[in-house]
Symmetry: C2
Subunit: 116 residues, 2 copies
Amino acid sequence: MENLRSDCEATNIDIVNRVKPRMPEMNLLYELSDFFKVMGDSTRIQLLWALEESEMCVGDLAVVLDMTKSAVSHQLKVLRTAKLVKAQKKGKNVYYALDDHHVKSILEKALEHIGE
Amino acid sequence: MENLRSDCEATNIDIVNRVKPRMPEMNLLYELSDFFKVMGDSTRIQLLWALEESEMCVGDLAVVLDMTKSAVSHQLKVLRTAKLVKAQKKGKNVYYALDDHHVKSILEKALEHIGE
DNA sequence: AATATAGTTGAACAACTATTCATTTGTTGT
DNA sequence: ACAACAAATGAATAGTTGTTCAACTATATT
């Protein structure tokens, strides 16, 4: 027996009955929104944009974004956890690169939406 | 004279000099991240998904999402402000519909990223 | 006119998030 | 071994965000 949170009855029962079973699993919804949450920060967008131009180390990214290495490093970790970037150690430096070929096209679609 | 926030010098000056001028205006970056912020919430993703199936009124959306009308209304306002949905009053009800043809393709790209 | 229904709104609260600061780890060069 | 540098980390703080609750507006029904 389900415990309903909604505070009202359906107005168009036919529509509700058609749409409700087509809703995705809660699990998938969380994965989707988590993905967009990662994209929903200007620092991380800048990092992705910069890495689309070139693989870069943390210090150089800090210069490009004009932020501290610490702040950049924190955000790179978020991007790494989301599997959007990958890290590779080269001597004293850690070089980051894009790890997802969808990011570019998603950014393009978002730009289309904005530019209207 | 700029006031730099970065706490380090560039390691690869050539890369930094090539990437830095290609970075977009801060204004555009904020628009981009704001857009993704709107998508970065499971309730709003659910609303967009449901509205992709059919135009619906607030009460029906509340039933489909199993949430209160108030919570749904608050989130619909966010989506309306972001111009992702539009509202139309029909008698006692307010019917919401998608107002952006990019949403679907963006969701699809995001699903591709997740499903790997 | 009075009542019921649909939706919106604002305040409040709890949960979350990004940056800063100080510290630590690991690598290079001497 | 030691100093210098690059990056990562944890704790703290300030700012933001989503839901709840109660009050309010507007439309429909009797």
